[in-house]
Structure formats: structure tokens, C-alpha cells
């Protein structure tokens, strides 16, 4: 009996040593040398592997950082300046502060402003619908509402607003990783400078239709009327293909363009409510607030009667379209 036990212990021990020797041999023979700095840098990174830096994952980015001569082209949008400072100090390099970016939804064509004209019956997938046709409204540029951007977001920073049928970016969670921008087949998502005090102004429309057609398809479309362009003193606004675009770098956040937009297509975010001006005319043209309802700042958006105004206008047009549709069916 004891002999059996001894024999067992002995043979197992020999086997163990044998295996250890093989492992040691293979480990030393096939060892891949890697700069220990890469691991250090990688540990400093957020390890979300989101690809927002343009590299496939954090390890690749760390490798690029270690091999780079200077860090000016490299930036981790998720970790931001803080992380980049850490990386720089690890590598003994300098890095410039970068202005933080945030994703914005450049479409305000909520269900109430943009009525349906056809019934889509394919897979609820933005890219498939986009490659099939212009979409179930008359606007062939606007949001299709199947939430591919939301699915692409790794940070739970987006959700679909059921009321409007549009995606919403949660500003605090957004890391500007660019995932939603690449996911959207219609280029509606854009990364813009977060702005001073997180304030920013942008055109919430990407429609390149001519004014009349754009307005007919969607009540809050940019018609390319160029009123904003005329108002801007800093040459930050360009009109191209019947569409206004505000250069986020040039914009000085003066807010002058916002009230002049006849379709309220220009959004201002995180601004304090406008002071009421004594002139009657100004009061009537105040409407721009409404737009905030559909953006990230739902909480601090003041309730303004513009919503009602827009709704009413929409209802009328819907009624009209109703009669038009009857011819079809």
C-alpha cells in the first residue's frame, strides 16, 4: 500500500518537473520582448478599447505613444487631457491641452415636425434603410431613427427619445470617441468643441434640399436662407448646398444667429435664458428655446410657447398632407 503511494507521489513529481522544464524552455525560446513602457502607458489609459483615438484598442494606442517622437498627433478622447498628461509624464514628453469635444445630433426632425410619407417595412437598421431609399419622410438627409448611433456608443452616452424618434447625447457621459459619427450612415452626428462653459451653437440640420423642399419636408429644416450668415460677424457661418454650417472653432458664441433663424434650426446649448427685450418685435422672434427640448439639456430648457406654435403649424400641414395621401391609397 505504502509502496503504491510512494510510487504515485514519485511519478507525479517527475511529471511535474518535466512539464516545468518544457514550459521554461518554450517560454524563454519564444519570448517576445515588449517595451515595459507600453504596459505602463496602457495602464494609464481608460482601457475601453473604443477606437476613438484611431487605433484598434488601447494597447495599439499605447504602442503608438511609446514609439512616437512627440504626442501632438495622439490623443485619447476618452481619457482627455488628464490621461494624456499622465501618458506624457510617463514618457517624459510634453503634451498640449486640447479643447474637449462632444457629439451633437444635427437633426431636429422630430416626429411632430417631419411627418411620415411612406411605411418602412425592412429591418430596423439605419444603414439598410439608408441604402434602400431616402427614408420614410420627405427628408432624405435626416435621422432615420433606428438608433445605430446609440448601439455604437460604448459609454451609454446616447439614447433614443421615444417622443421625438431622435437620438439624444448625454453630454456628461459623451467621450467624443467618434463611434456614433462613423456609425451614422447619414453623417448627422458630429463632434464639436464642447465650448466655453460647455456652451455651443450649431445648426441642427443636414438637409441639402432647396429651401422650399426642405421646409415642406420638415418644419425645422435649414432652408439655406443665409440670414444667419449675414448676422455673423466672425465669418463662422458658411452656406453650402442650401445648408448653413457653423464653424465651431470660429464661433464666438455671441448667439446672434439663433433668433434670426426662421425655422429654429440653430441650437444653442447650456446658455442662460435670454433676457426679455422691451421691443415687441424682438419678443415675437424669441422662439429659439424650443429646440433645446430635443437636445441634451432637457432639464434646463425653459418651456416656451414655440413648441405649441410649431406643433400647430405642423398639424395644419399634416391635415393638408392627409388629403394628399388619399389619392395614393
Amino acid at each position: 500500500m505504502s509502496q503504491t503511494i510512494l510510487f504515485t507521489i514519485g511519478s507525479i513529481t517527475i511529471l511535474g518537473f518535466l512539464a516545468a522544464a518544457i514550459l521554461y524552455f518554450i517560454a524563454s525560446k519564444f519570448k517576445v520582448y515588449e517595451d515595459p513602457k507600453i504596459e505602463e502607458v496602457e495602464n494609464a489609459l481608460p482601457s475601453t478599447n473604443c477606437g476613438g483615438c484611431g487605433f484598434p484598442g488601447c494597447h495599439a494606442f499605447a504602442e503608438a505613444c511609446v514609439n512616437a517622437d512627440d504626442l501632438s498627433d495622439l490623443h485619447c478622447p476618452v481619457g482627455g487631457n488628464e490621461t494624456m498628461q499622465k501618458v506624457a509624464s510617463l514618457l517624459g514628453m510634453e503634451v498640449e491641452e486640447r479643447a474637449p469635444y462632444v457629439a451633437v445630433v444635427r437633426c431636429n426632425g422630430a416626429l411632430e415636425f417631419r411627418h411620415k410619407t411612406t411605411a418602412y417595412d425592412g429591418v430596423p437598421n439605419c444603414t439598410i434603410a439608408h441604402s434602400l431609399y431616402g427614408g420614410d419622410t420627405d427628408c432624405q438627409y435626416g435621422c432615420l431613427g433606428f438608433g445605430e448611433c446609440v448601439d455604437a456608443c460604448n459609454f451609454e452616452a446616447m439614447y433614443m427619445d421615444e417622443k421625438t424618434g431622435l437620438p439624444v447625447v448625454i453630454e456628461d457621459k459623451c467621450t467624443a470617441c467618434n463611434a456614433c459619427v462613423t456609425a451614422c450612415p447619414r453623417d448627422i452626428m458630429e463632434l464639436r468643441p464642447k465650448g466655453r462653459k460647455n456652451r455651443r451653437i450649431f445648426v441642427a440640420c443636414v438637409s441639402q434640399d432647396k429651401g422650399g423642399a426642405a421646409k415642406k419636408a420638415c418644419d425645422v429644416a435649414c432652408t439655406g436662407c443665409s440670414k444667419c450668415e449675414a448676422e455673423c460677424k466672425y465669418d463662422a457661418i458658411v452656406i453650402e448646398n442650401y445648408l448653413s454650417y457653423i464653424d465651431g472653432e470660429k464661433c464666438k458664441l455671441c448667439r446672434k444667429c439663433v433668433p434670426v433663424c426662421p425655422t429654429h434650426a440653430i441650437h444653442e446649448i447650456n446658455f442662460p435664458p435670454r433676457k426679455e427685450r422691451p421691443e415687441k418685435k424682438e419678443r415675437r422672434e424669441k422662439p429659439a428655446k424650443k429646440v433645446e427640448v430635443n437636445t441634451a439639456t432637457i432639464d434646463n430648457a425653459p418651456a416656451v410657447d414655440v413648441v405649441k406654435m410649431a406643433k400647430k403649424a405642423n398639424e395644419e400641414s399634416v391635415k393638408k398632407e392627409d388629403s394628399d395621401d388619399k389619392e395614393v391609397s
Binding site: 411612406t118 418602412y120 434602400l132 431609399y133 420614410d136 388619399k326 395614393v328
Partner: protein, 333 residues
């Protein structure tokens, strides 16, 4: 809006009208002759066993899908009914009701829902349930009632061995096969089903009628059954030629036990069989081979269930490596 819009969807704009329900109910229709025969042979017991199995399978499917998978249960698609019928077909007609319910729970719960429900289970659920019962309740699962005089009476205590069991037992006691063959029912009885055995496997003829229906309705293709039965036939034929005193002849093997039931209804189960015809042939041949190995050399008299489950395990591998002939791609480069 009350008015109707034009519908837009990608092509194609027409559909064949084929549906999961139609396919599943087609299988059930194909199983009907076998059920009728087993009612005739084993009496009410067969019907009660089938009924309990079907009802408990549907019940577990409903409960587990709703509360475990948190999905809308799709019991109307008929897949749970088929699992129930197949489970019942694989057990003796005098099996106590509580064993059947345990079998149903294992079949649906372990065999199907734990993998994510219909379409995701790697193993045939009915067979998972059956094998579980066979291992857990070997006595009850192998006491086969004999055919009854009157279909309307419930099975009584008279039980006996299946032809396969008879031979296995006999051979192990050293009797020559030719003596044993005198004891087993004639091939005509085997064909018609006047023998002891599981609920659904007794009548070869009824099963053949069912499979002809399925082939006609294009529910299954011929590949798996033909490969499986062909392999079994050739393999047993070879053994029989070598030593007819030890190995039974191929016709006997084809007609007895669950070979036909397995070949027609269980190996051909959509979810757990391979996707390409080439792989189907390999799959069928594998099942046939393993079945005969178990029958002739294993300790169990019957091996179809084990053979199918073993080959089920190879299906993902086959799907990965056995591809259909691509159009415009030459073989070997």
C-alpha cells in the same frame, strides 16, 4: 394618421408562404400514422403517455420562455409539441406519468431553453430527455409492455424484452443467434408493428409512410435518413457475412428498435443537424455507424439515441468546415 402609406422594403417583395408552423405541423402529420399504430398495439397507454408528454412539454416551454428567457412564448409554432411526441415515442407505453413529466422538463428545460430556445439547442431535446430518463430510471425505461389484444384496455403487467434486448441478452448467455431468432417476431410483424418496444418505434411501415409524406412536402431531404440507414445496412451486412451466428442480419437491424424512428424524425431535426448536404451525409453515416457499434459491441441493446446525440455534438464543427460547392470556385484551388 388614418390614411395609408406605400410600404417600402428591400426586395424580394413576395414570400413562399413557408413558415415554421407549417413545417412543424407537417412533421406532426407525418408522425400521426406511427401514433395510430402504437395506439392499436399498446392501447390507451400509448395515447396517455403521448398526451402527458406533449402537454408537459408545451407547459414547460411556455413557463420557461416567459419567466426564464423573458420572451413572448411561441408555443403555437409546434416545436414543443414535436418534442413531446418524440419523447413519448421513445419511452415504453406503461411509463409512470411522473417520470414522463421529469423527462419533459429535462427535454425542454435542459435540452432547449438553457441554450436559448428554438434554433439554438445543439442537442435534440427529446433525446436529451430520453437519455436522461434511461440513465435515471433504467428499470422503468426498459420494461416494455407486450402488444395488447384489445386497444381500449390499459397496459397491464405483462412485459417483455424488445427483439434487440432479447438477442443481446441471449448472446451474452452464450446461446447461438439462430436459436434466438426463432424467438423474435417475424419480419412482417416488425414491419407492421406487432411487437414490444417504445411507443413510436414499433411499426416500420407507419414510420415509412410518415417519411414519404415529409419528403413529398419537402420538409426534409433524403440525405440523412439514406446515409444513416445505408451505413447501418452495410455495416451490419458486413458483420453478418463474417459471422452469422454472432451478428443478426441487416434487415432485422433496420426493422427493429429505434433506427427508423431516429433516422426519419430525430436525426433529421432541423436545429441539430448540419446545414450542407455533404455534411448531412457524413452526419447520417456517423449516426448509423455509432448505432450499430453500440448495438453489436456495447452494453446497451439499443444505441440510436446515443448515436444521434454524439453526432449532434459534431454538427457545429461540420458547419464550420464543410461548405457547399460555391458557384464559380474550382475544387482544390
Amino acid at each position: 394618421m388614418s390614411t395609408q402609406f406605400l410600404t417600402i422594403s428591400p426586395s424580394p417583395h413576395i414570400h413562399s408562404g413557408e413558415s415554421v408552423n407549417k413545417l412543424m405541423y407537417g412533421v406532426l402529420i407525418a408522425l400521426a400514422p406511427a401514433l395510430a399504430v402504437s395506439f392499436y398495439v399498446f392501447g390507451l397507454g400509448a395515447v396517455i403517455v403521448t398526451l402527458i408528454a406533449v402537454l408537459s412539454c408545451v407547459f414547460f416551454e411556455y413557463i420557461l420562455t416567459k419567466y426564464l428567457l423573458h420572451r413572448e412564448p411561441a408555443i403555437t409554432d409546434g416545436s414543443a409539441v414535436i418534442t413531446g411526441v418524440l419523447l413519448a415515442f421513445n419511452v415504453p407505453s406503461n411509463l409512470p406519468w411522473w417520470i414522463i413529466i421529469i423527462g419533459s422538463l429535462v427535454a425542454i428545460g435542459v435540452g432547449k431553453i438553457s441554450f436559448g430556445g428554438l434554433g439554438n439547442n445543439p442537442f435534440n431535446p427529446a433525446l436529451v430527455g430520453r437519455v436522461f430518463l434511461l440513465i435515471s430510471f433504467p428499470v422503468q425505461m426498459t420494461s416494455w409492455p407486450l402488444p395488447l389484444e384489445n386497444a381500449w384496455q390499459l397496459a397491464d403487467a405483462a412485459t417483455g424484452a424488445t427483439p434487440l434486448g432479447l438477442i443481446k441478452e441471449g448472446l451474452s448467455t452464450g446461446k447461438p443467434l439462430s436459436d434466438l431468432m426463432q424467438e423474435v417476431p417475424s419480419y412482417v410483424s416488425l414491419l407492421l408493428g406487432n411487437v414490444g418496444g417504445s411507443v413510436g418505434e414499433v411499426s416500420a411501415l407507419a414510420l415509412i409512410i410518415g417519411v414519404i409524406y415529409m419528403l413529398w412536402k419537402k420538409i426534409i431531404t433524403w440525405h440523412i435518413p439514406v446515409a444513416m440507414l445505408g451505413t447501418a445496412f452495410i455495416f451490419t451486412g458486413g458483420l453478418w457475412l463474417i459471422n452469422p451466428e454472432k451478428f443478426a442480419d441487416p434487415v432485422f437491424h433496420l426493422l427493429t428498435g429505434g433506427l427508423l424512428l431516429g433516422a426519419f424524425f430525430m436525426a433529421t431535426d432541423y436545429v441539430t443537424s448540419p446545414m450542407t448536404t455533404k455534411a448531412m451525409l457524413i452526419f447520417g453515416a456517423g449516426v448509423g455507424f455509432i448505432t450499430i457499434v453500440i448495438r453489436e459491441f456495447g452494453s446497451y441493446p439499443e444505441g440510436v439515441s446515443f448515436a444521434i446525440l454524439i453526432m449532434n455534438g459534431f454538427v457545429p464543427l461540420m458547419n464550420k468546415y464543410i461548405k457547399p460547392k460555391r458557384f464559380g470556385v474550382k475544387k482544390n484551388g
